[in-house]
Amino acid sequence: MTQYIIRRLLQMIPITLGILTLIFSLIHLIPGDPAVQIAGEGARPEDVQNVRKSLGLDQPLWKQYVTYIGNLAQGDLGRSFRTNESVSKEIAARYPATMQLAFGSMLVALLVAFPLGIISAIYRNSWIDNVARFFALIGVSMPSFWFGPLLIIAFAINRQWFPVSGREEGLKSLVLPSITMGLALSAILTRMIRVSLADELGQLYVTTAIAKGVTRSKAIFRHALKNALIPVITILALQFGSLLTGAIITEQIFSWPGLGRLLIQSITTRDYPQVQASILVIALTYIMVNFLSDLLYGIVDPRIKLQ
């Protein structure tokens, strides 16, 4: 196992470096003179010079890169143009909100996908299986930026059960954003559980268990489901990463004060250090989650480690 972890960690190094380079180059991709663009049209030359200096744009490129990586290693992500405070402070304040939303959506997805997936695997090709199939189809085609507003119309405006936006009302505020973001995931999971469990139910060991007198429900839940969950767990962990990017849109719909909303707000105000830092944190979390899900896969399915 240790060897497997080390190998995966080593594989992460070039990828992380690649992403750091990508984010570093972003500011140099700004068309024209980045300093002029950031200071704004019609800014005084000394303001432009200030921006250039504060961002280190007057230094040679390699030096900028080394400084950037060096600062990152010390946890210094830069200062916001707008507030002049450390960008990491703003990120630390927003991170929990995004995580809460991601976990909320995952919970929604599990609550929907488990019963639906299991029932449609047991009653294959029945009406309920068809309903689940239709639901999965709608779920993956429905854009969250449409589903969210529909939920707001139905449950926050027509029936005032939940707040329209914000995070002030605690768990009540979490419900609609979580459902919005959890829909696509629950659709994917439902299909996954159905296929995986249906596969296991056709295996001989299930027939053997039933032949030996085990009740059908015990054969399903004690024997087949356990094995069927292996691929499901991996998908679930992998999808957690995509929830982070989904949060960018969902947070915008519900004015949810998380990282995604911070990113879009900083883009609008051209606060480039904040933009870079937000992207970096989302990307690194994404890589980390994928790494952990790989490890998890290795743990639940020992065959993987050999590959």
């Binding site: 854009p143 529909l150 879009i264």
Partner: protein, 278 residues
């Protein structure tokens, strides 16, 4: 003929085909279909609910929503086709070169793919549009940069298989040079999965364009784009729900249609591709 028969009997494929044709017709015939000028503002009638004259109502500037949806299809399709065309061109070229020659080139292309894949696609697109500035061309570029990877990996995998076949050895033995072998012998044999990927990819691109526009990073006003229409509609939820409902429905039907079409193609062309597409 067998493939054609299978397609005709596939309900999802036919539904997808109808929805996709509707999308294409809306885009091409927008000026003929639109009951009103999509840019004409009548501020005295802003946010008006659907009526006989304006079947889908009027928006926050008093423009006809139905006409703007027809014209919005143009933006969606233009971005969709441009991205899929450019991404598949880049992806097929790099994937074929990587797969055919192997070695250092292969490693380089594949590592680049790994880096781009380890980064969530929409996040990279947002980052690029954020620094380049929002415009139709920049949206296309940002989406191409993330989309070519899928084609490159698919094509490389296919080329690796085809490369070892006897007709390739025969072509080489007859003196054909590498470019000729790749273009005339390898590529025609691996196009089916690429077509499927392109069809499915088109829906994904349309969705991404709508998402970027929704975030204010896409096509700029007054050009009608479904995503941007949804954003302004969101501000009037409760007051004028039709502004959010109809553009969203258009996006969903378009994406669903293309997904059905792609799914049907997978089953008809070769079911074993389903596994390879993942």
């Amino acid at each position: 003929m067998k493939t054609f028969g299978r397609l005709i009997r596939n309900f999802a494929f036919m539904l997808g085909l109808v929805l996709t044709l509707l999308l294409i017709i809306s885009a091409l015939a927008a000026p003929l279909l639109s009951p009103h000028d999509p840019f004409h503002q009548d501020t005295s009638r802003r946010l008006e609910a659907p009526s006989d004259d304006h079947p889908l109502g009027l928006d926050d500037l008093g423009r006809d929503v139905l006409s703007r949806i027809f014209y919005g299809a143009r933006v969606s399709l233009r971005v969709g086709f441009s991205v899929v065309f450019l991404a598949s061109l880049i992806g097929i070229t790099l994937g074929a070169i990587a797969g055919y020659f192997g070695g250092f080139v292969d490693m380089l292309v594949m590592r680049l793919c790994d880096i781009l894949l380890s980064f969530p696609g929409i996040l990279l697109a947002i980052a690029l549009v954020a620094v380049l500035g929002p415009s139709l061309n920049n949206v296309v570029m940002a989406l191409v940069i993330t989309a070519w990877v899928g084609y490159a990996r698919l094509v490389r995998g296919q080329v690796l298989k085809v490369r070892e076949m006897e007709f390739i050895t025969a072509a080489r033995a007859l003196g054909a040079r590498s470019p000729r072998v790749i273009i005339l012998h390898v590529l025609p044999n691996i196009m089916n999965p690429v077509i499927v990927m392109a069809t499915l990819g088109l829906g994904g691109v349309i969705l991404s364009e709508a998402a970027l526009s929704f975030l204010g990073l896409g096509v700029q006003p007054p050009t009608p784009s479904w995503g941007a229409m949804l954003t302004s509609g969101r501000r009037y939820l409760g007051l004028a729900n039709h502004l959010a409902i109809f553009p969203g429905a258009a996006i969903m039907l378009a994406v669903m249609g293309l997904n059905f079409l792609g799914d049907g193609l997978i089953d008809a062309l070769d079911p074993k591709f389903r596994k390879e597409m993942r």
